[in-house]
């Protein structure tokens, strides 16, 4: 599009008092030949906005720079529809609120931000949404247990064609074999009849297409266009689906590993599921029963995690015994009773029914005359507790996600090359070949594991922030949980699946860049098949052909730009975000000559956390170094090393990357962005040294959104260290 660019400088909130606004206008009009530049004392007010709207309607302005407050505020006020590009130059939070008024350095900073905004606009275009041919809005649910049936029903009730794939010949899964189930509704005290028969009927009535005795041989494509090959009864069926809910459940922990609790040794030591089947079959006659909690769970030698459901399940099973024979003796040996929330009422019900709860670790189980004796270290009585004449001991043996079973994919990624070059290696996702989805993804056939085999999200605020767009794990395959949680989780995952197909139909990204219509485009002529983009994409969006050419799948893409940052040939760009765009912004910044003694520091800041933190420094009127110029990036993962070269060639004295925490408790919403940026940085130091530049001039730091109070010192310290190094020797060569 032919751009008609207008710059509007707000002089309100003290901007006009602190800065020479005429000089700012000159930058826009004379230096950058903007078509229009106007100032207004209250640009976000009705009259100010009317001026802009009038220019759009009557003067043909289609590209607007608002120089005033941060884009964190007034986004709605300065939104002029999808056909007008709007860029904000943050003169308030990041200039006048954190730098002195009427000051040469402050003025230079403001002028640079106007330059950067104008260059950014010149280098961007309105995105055009990616459209899928033969898009499918069908939701596929994998797993026909309680969670899968619930997800399928919820999806169908929302009006979406739904298919359900179950590997057994019958629907119902683990819960289907239960005698009764834990309460799922208030007052949370009563055993409920098994819901599976009703659920199966409802699923059938809702028109869900059910495949039983079926497994998935292959899942190709991406959201809106997954082509799934289903094996069933020796034949195959093809389904095109839009999104997938993975609800393959968990398996009980292998009780044969619990020999210390007598399993395998005494036939009356049984598992929770065996007890369930025994009661369901009407074969449970025991008059004295012990339940042993955390049999395998909360044990570093077995399952370090808590399996979450066992306490309420054992309370339920204890009540089975009492239901059949109120005089029966029932003991529950536990570490902590975890009947969270309203399940407290259920726990109380069992206590009132006479179930005896003993806090203690079971130290020995022995048998004599067919009856079992338990020795435990009773924590509340402070003694060793000994009880005998048990007819049955039931082990609450926890759960292991189905996603955990299978061969682990080894990192094949150019290990030798990396080792030879002594470079830090990009660690890809851990994927276990559990044979559930068999994705045709270059990075592996299943969802990446988070921990303990669970493909959970790492996020508290975004539990469905999946690493495979359009595929949402639900229920106990995602995380250990009880039935009540699994029921909600099924509906939650179904919502995300539905949302993904709707967004894909519009050509929009899903979370966290929801609504973003840009996507990466590859200039394949210059590709060298280096595989960096296909390896580093956190979402596995890019496949490869036999010749290692990247095959992007835009509907899997989350628009973080990690591929763009990774590409040494710089062939990947978005319509509104590209290597030249940022590079030209760097080049637009005025770097004073060495004699001026005004060093320059370039900061690349993650727009999710570091940018708001910088704004907060302004809101709190914290003052920081005026040599700093900040460029927000979608994610530090999108950092292309050529920008560092650009900055050094331009004469910047230092470059600082501000990104999110990485490691086990990483906070990057694109998983690996800040980590990848640091790895890339480590590779540039040699180049810098060759140019006669100290590698200390370029560094990465972690900034979370609450670190704003640390930002001034962080920048000052860096500036001091750069002063010690002396000016960038390339400064005056440009």
């Amino acid at each position: 599009m032919e751009k008609k660019i207008a710059v509007y400088i707000c002089t309100g909130c003290g901007i006009g008092d602190a800065l020479d606004v005429d000089a700012l206008s000159n930058v826009a009009l004379k230096e950058y030949k903007a078509d229009i530049c106007k100032t207004d004392a209250f640009l976000c007010g009705k009259d100010g906005v009317a001026v802009i709207k009038n220019d759009i309607e009557n003067e043909g302005v289609n590209t607007v720079v608002v120089a005033g407050c941060s884009s964190r505020v007034n986004a709605d006020v300065f939104n002029f529809g999808p056909n007008v590009i709007v860029e904000r130059a943050n003169l308030r939070e990041q200039v006048i609120w954190c730098h002195p008024a009427d000051d040469e350095d402050t003025q230079m900073l403001a002028e640079d931000y106007i330059r950067m905004a104008l260059v950014k606009q010149k280098n961007m275009n309105l995105p055009e949404p990616y459209q899928v041919e033969n898009l499918s809005k069908t939701i596929m649910v994998v797993g026909g247990g309680f969670t899968g049936l619930t997800a399928a029903l919820e999806s169908a009730k929302a009006g979406y064609r739904t298919v359900l794939v179950e590997k057994e010949d019958k629907l119902g899964g683990y819960v289907g074999k239960m005698y009764k189930q834990v309460p799922l509704k208030p007052p949370f005290t009563d055993l409920e009849e098994n819901c599976i028969p009703g659920l199966v009927k409802a699923v059938e009535e809702a028109g869900v297409k059910v495949y039983t005795s079926a497994t998935i041989a292959k899942t190709a494509g991406g959201p809106g266009m997954f082509d799934v090959t289903i094996n069933q009864n020796g034949g195959t069926v093809e389904e095109r689906v839009g999104a997938i809910v993975l609800a393959t459940g968990a398996r009980p922990y292998d009780a044969s590993k619990l020999a210390h609790l007598g399993f395998g040794q005494y036939e009356n030591v049984i598992t929770q599921s065996a007890f369930e089947e025994m009661v369901a079959a009407g074969n449970m006659e025991a008059g004295k029963v012990a339940f042993i909690q955390c049999a395998g769970s909360r044990d570093q030698e077995h399952l370090p995690y808590c399996s979450a459901a066992c306490c309420v399940e054992s309370i339920k099973q204890a009540l089975y015994v009492k239901e059949k024979n109120p005089e029966a003796n029932v003991y529950v040996y536990y570490k902590d009773i975890r009947s969270n929330g309203q399940y407290e009422h259920f726990y109380k019900k069992a206590q009132q029914a006479g179930v005896i709860f003993i806090k203690g670790d079971v130290t020995a189980i022995t048998e004599s005359d067919g009856q079992l004796a338990i020795e435990a270290d009773d924590k509340t009585m402070g003694t060793t507790s000994e009880a005998d004449e048990f007819d049955l001991v039931v082990l609450a043996n926890g759960m292991v996600p189905t996603a955990a079973f299978g061969e682990m994919i080894e990192e094949e990624a150019e290990e030798e090359a990396a080792a030879a070059a002594d470079e830090p290696k990009v660690v890809g996702p851990t994927i276990i070949k559990s044979n559930m989805l068999n994705l045709e993804y270059r990075q592996g056939p299943e969802l990446p594991e988070l921990k303990y085999g669970f493909p959970d999200s790492h996020y508290i605020c975004f539990p469905y922030e999946t690493r495979r767009t359009g595929i949402y794990a639900a229920g106990v395959v995602r995380a250990p949980m009880d039935m009540l949680s699994a029921m909600e989780d099924a509906a939650g995952a179904a919502l995300k699946a539905v949302q993904c197909v709707e967004a894909t139909a519009k050509g929009e990204a899903v979370h966290p860049r929801s609504g973003d219509m840009s996507f990466p485009e590859f200039n394949m002529n210059r590709c060298t098949q280096c595989k960096r983009c296909t390896e580093e994409c956190p979402f596995g969006a890019i496949n490869e052909d036999e010749k290692a050419n990247p095959l992007p799948n835009p509907t899997r893409c989350r628009r973080c730009g990690t591929c763009m940052g990774a590409c040494p040939e710089r062939i990947i760009s978005f319509k509104n975000y590209s290597v030249p765009m940022i590079g030209n912004m760097v080049k637009a910044i005025e770097v004073p000559e060495e004699l001026d003694e005004k060093p320059r520091i370039l900061v690349f800041a993650c727009e999710n956390d570091a940018m708001p933190a910088l704004d907060m420094a302004g809101i709190n009127r914290l003052q920081y170094n005026p040599w700093v110029r900040i460029i927000p990036v979608r994610c530090l993962g999108s950092l292309n090393l050529v920008w560092i070269n650009d900055a050094m060639a331009k004469g910047f004295d230092g470059v600082l990357l501000m990104g999110c925490k990485h490691g086990d408790d990483y906070q990057c919403h694109f998983m690996k962005g800040s980590e990848l940026a640091e790895i890339r940085l480590s590779k540039i130091s040699e180049t810098l040294n060759r140019l006669g530049l100290e590698s200390e001039r370029v560094r990465a730091t972690t900034v979370n959104i609450m670190d704003y109070d640390k930002i001034p010192a962080m920048l000052d310290e860096f500036a001091e260290e750069l002063e010690e190094l002396g000016p960038n020797p390339m400064k005056d060569f440009q």
């Binding site: 009730k157 208030p186 806090k359 929801s514």
Partner: protein, 419 residues
């Protein structure tokens, strides 16, 4: 033809999530929030367990989602007055309470500089003060100031209006009522901390060094009343010892009968706050059961390894104050040691639980509640759903999951209504 739009009552993490998830499917959504800002209780939390990451990070992303989504409409300082109609077609009246600051506000803050009146800062549970015209907190969304009418000296003072260059102060603003027609309603009004004044045996309200877990969050927060320093409220001095009393009001026949689900993990997290500031402080947790379910067990394990805490199995019976030193004595039966123990602490933190907001304020529609007042979803009026902590005591991740699920239920109501 049913209305496809959805009303979400409550703009905390559950309400925001339900609203955003539905809007990102394509539905028009209205959020009604009683506070002058969105974000609810999580805005007051310093860090989330188990990652110890700042809630503002996720909130900021959610606010970005709102900024970019034209289908989300929100009203702050608003409350639902009445609901009529049925699934697919509800008529709702919403009262908009006066903010006394209009949309002209730029957030420049000059009014606060000029304001001579002060108010107790509810955001910090009264631990400090703000001016009568104030920004609720620095991350406030929307970033607009607000006037507390109870503290404001009114039009005869008018200093704020005089200094405001944008005509943003309107001291005569009146409440307004608006009507909305929606297809489904999500009730996500969350929880209130259980009133610790009802736990007289723990001395809250009588002894200033007895605080609650929500106050601890503010004290540990950089933007809190002590700028993040955990100190004794009576003298602002550093602490050498702290006790956490679990189930303060929860799992208790005389108070909240349910378990509040989050308090164990919250206290373990608070132990990490204390340990970070005080490598040598004594940290005791009095508990009945430590409920770190699922993968949170890792957090429990980590805190035990790293924070050097003492876990005492037993419900604390009483807290007394030594009037001369203001130290507190916690009297509890240690069930493992089989004795009544008395220990002295500088600070006592009550792990008060979650009372559903519906224990105090009911939904203006035919609904059912459990014995603690938690709202039962969809029981009596189809099309009105509960989400988050108003329904079950939940941690944040579970509340988000629940709100996401509830968004789908609400969408189903709008689909059903069409048939």
């Amino acid at each position: 033809m049913a209305n496809k739009s959805i009303l979400v009552v409550g703009g905390g993490i559950s309400g925001l999530t339900a609203a955003l998830e539905a809007a990102e499917v394509g539905h028009e959504v209205y959020i009604v929030e009683k506070n002058p800002y969105l974000g609810g209780k999580v805005t007051q939390i310093n860090q989330y367990f188990p990652k110890l990451c700042p809630p503002n990070c996720g909130l900021e992303i959610n606010f970005q989602r709102i900024r970019k989504n034209p289908r989300i409409n929100f009203f702050t300082m608003a409350e639902v007055e009445s609901i009529s109609g049925q699934e697919g077609n509800f008529d709702v009246t919403v009262k908009l309470n006066p903010r006394f600051v209009n949309e002209n506000c730029t957030g420049c803050g000059k009014c606060t500089e000029a304001c001579p009146a002060e108010r107790a800062n509810a955001f910090n549970y009264g631990l400090d003060k703000t001016k009568a015209v104030y920004l609720p907190h620095e991350f406030a969304f929307p970033m607009k100031y607000v006037i507390d009418a109870r503290a404001c000296k009114g039009a005869e003072c008018g200093k704020c209006a005089q200094v405001c260059e944008y005509n943003a102060i309107d001291l005569n603003m009146e409440p307004k009522t608006i009507n909305l027609n929606v297809g489904a309603i999500v009730w996500a009004t969350g929880w209130d901390p259980y009133d610790a004044n009802k736990l007289s045996y723990y001395g809250f309200g009588r002894y200033d060094n007895v605080i609650t877990n929500v106050m601890m969050e503010r004290m540990a927060a950089l933007n809190g009343p002590t700028k993040g320093k955990i100190v004794r409220p009576t003298d602002g001095k550093e602490i050498k010892s702290v006790a956490f009393i679990q189930c303060a009001g929860s799992r208790d026949e005389n108070h909240l009968k349910a378990c509040s689900s989050v308090c164990c993990l919250a206290s373990l997290k608070h132990a990490t706050y204390v340990r970070e500031q005080y490598p040598d402080a004594e940290i005791c947790i009095y508990y009945i059961d430590i409920r770190a379910r699922g993968k949170y067990e890792d957090f429990f394990t980590k805190v035990q390894e790293e924070a050097n805490i003492t876990l005492i199995k037993g419900k604390a019976g009483e807290v007394k104050e030594d009037p001369s030193t203001k130290k507190l004595v916690v009297i509890a039966e240690d069930q493992v040691a089989q004795e009544v123990v008395e220990k002295k602490f500088d600070l006592v933190v009550l792990a008060t639980g979650m009372a559903p907001t519906t224990a105090a304020a009911k939904v203006p529609a035919e609904m059912a509640y459990d014995e603690d007042g938690f709202l039962v979803s969809g029981a009596n009026t189809p099309g009105i759903y509960a989400a988050g902590c108003v329904k079950n005591p939940l941690d944040v991740a579970s509340a988000v999951r629940d709100a996401t699920a509830t968004a789908l239920k609400a969408i189903q109501s709008t689909v059903r209504g069409q048939q």
